[in-house]
């Protein structure tokens, strides 16, 4: 017995250390231990706030603990590459935002070794998708997109906008607008969507694109004025605000949140997860939680989500290529 044990001890320790476990021959029932949903942003951010109700609803459906873990850093790249490189056993899922398609493109642009590639992940379901809203500081004169564009053409590079950071989602939305309208704006990046909002409220920049839940309280208070939205149709809570499409700008942009798994997750496990998520998003509790966050549910199952994601990723990749490498802070 002693010799037997010694023989097995070292390899066992090595396996422990390198996180390798022996595949048991007969596939066990999934799930039999807690599932982790990685939110690659800090608690309180959109990813975290969406992941929590998803986890809670999923826990009920799967009758198995589902915990949210925040793995933050490098604009989400840390958490996303963590899941992309984790074991495809269905126990490590990712709740990512639109920026999932931006980071590999930016890595490509800078000739960096990518933190992860999009092929490493497979979509499970789209949870929400909110169009960004274009707002201007209320003290600025522009009442319509037309007036704004005319002014921007007259004074190129004079009107400014804040964003959540270079190559961030809010920067992307504005890049699509400036490209489509053929205008030049001054970009002042901030460290996150919160500071970007503070900047427009303080009048340090003129315009901003951000999510409806963020801007609506300040629109109601009359501090900022919405001119248009990036959605295919108008936002329900802002019925008077036209879409850019209505105004003849063929642009569409959403800040979305979706659930992903590592690419080589087995089809059987994927099927279980997809069906559970489908039930979870229809649970009354989940709907109530999302209602409170003022985030409409936009559920899409894997195949449709893949199509949506492909289109979105292509659009973002084009925008990043247009922006190019910024040698100096953007002031085109």
């Amino acid at each position: 017995m002693g010799a037997y044990r010694r023989f097995y001890f070292l390899p066992a320790l090595l396996m422990l250390f390198f996180g390798v476990t022996v595949e048991s021959p007969g596939q066990e029932k999934y799930p039999d231990r807690p599932i982790t949903i990685v939110a690659p942003f800090p608690p309180g951010g959109v990813a975290d706030l969406t992941a929590r109700p998803v986890a809670a609803a999923l826990e009920k459906v799967m009758k198995n603990p589902v915990v949210v873990v925040n793995k933050t850093g490098a604009a989400g790249a840390v958490g996303m590459s963590f899941v992309a490189n984790s074991k495809p056993d269905g126990y490590n899922l990712l709740l990512a935002l639109s920026s999932i398609s931006i980071i590999p493109e930016a890595d490509k642009l800078f000739d960096r070794k990518p933190a992860y590639t999009m092929d490493q992940l497979i979509p499970i379901a789209l949870i929400s998708a909110d169009p960004t809203i274009f707002v201007v500081n209320a003290s600025r004169p522009w009442k319509t997109v037309k007036e704004f564009v005319a002014e921007a053409k007259r004074r190129p590079g004079a009107i400014s906008y804040s964003s959540s950071g270079v190559y961030g989602t809010l920067h992307m939305a504005m890049e699509m607008l400036t490209h489509s309208a053929g205008i030049n704006l001054k970009h002042v990046p901030y460290a996150g969507a919160g500071p970007a909002l503070t900047a427009i409220l303080g009048g340090h920049v003129d315009t901003l694109a951000s999510g409806p839940a963020v801007v609506i309280p300040h629109i109601k208070a009359g501090k900022i004025r919405p001119l248009a939205g990036w959605g295919a149709k108008r936002v329900a809570s802002l019925p008077d605000v036209p879409t850019f499409k209505e105004l003849g700008h063929d642009i569409e942009f959403y800040i979305w949140a979706g659930l992903f798994a590592p690419r080589s997750t087995s089809p059987a496990v994927m099927k279980t997860i997809r069906e559970s998520v489908k039930q979870a998003v229809n649970a009354a509790e989940f709907k109530a939680a999302m209602e409170k966050l003022q985030t409409p549910i936009a559920y899409l199952d894997a195949p449709e989500f893949q199509k949506f994601w492909d289109k979105d990723a292509k659009m973002l990749a084009d925008a990043i290529k247009r922006i190019g490498k910024l040698e100096i802070p953007e002031a085109k």
Partner: protein
């Protein structure tokens, strides 16, 4: 200062390292665009700071004659320091692979038994108590996320 080879004072040694470090930073910044005075690029501020550190380092070397000599430094605690640093390095690699409890257990047994030469019984009691006690308090009660190893520890 010219009459003989300058004595190796602690300031000379440390400032030389700072000078080398600043040169290294400047060298490493070469791949980043510098930008201009009106539009500083990503390398602008780092190079400015490295140049400042370079100047300060040179000044310290020049004025370091009166500082203590290098041989006056006592390194009596180096064994302990090395052992503690190695423990930390072990923790970096082990914490997400072995899990929190196992990592802490091994680290504490190493420090208390191996370095501080306490008895086995007290070392193991202390290590077990700390590893499982702190895990229970912070993970189970206070919900601070801590990693668990493949065996559920």
């Amino acid at each position: 200062m010219l009459q003989s080879f300058p004595t190796m004072t602690i300031d000379r040694v440390s400032a030389s390292i700072l000078v080398l470090f600043s040169l290294f930073v400047i060298w490493e910044s070469r791949q980043l665009p510098l930008g201009s005075f009106r539009q500083p690029g990503p390398a602008y501020v780092p190079i400015l700071l490295a140049a400042l550190l370079l100047i300060l380092g040179v000044f310290i070397i020049l004025m370091a004659g009166r500082a203590r000599s290098l041989s006056s430094l006592r390194w009596s605690e180096w064994r302990h320091a090395l052992a503690i640093l190695l423990t930390c390095v072990f923790a970096v690699f082990a914490i997400e692979r072995l899990g929190y409890r196992l990592t802490v257990l091994l680290a504490l047994v190493f420090l208390v038994k191996g370095v501080e030469k306490r008895g086995w019984v007290s070392s193991l009691t202390f290590a077990f108590g700390m590893a499982f006690g702190s895990f229970y308090l912070f993970y189970t009660v206070l919900r601070v996320p801590l990693p668990q190893g493949p065996l559920g520890f």
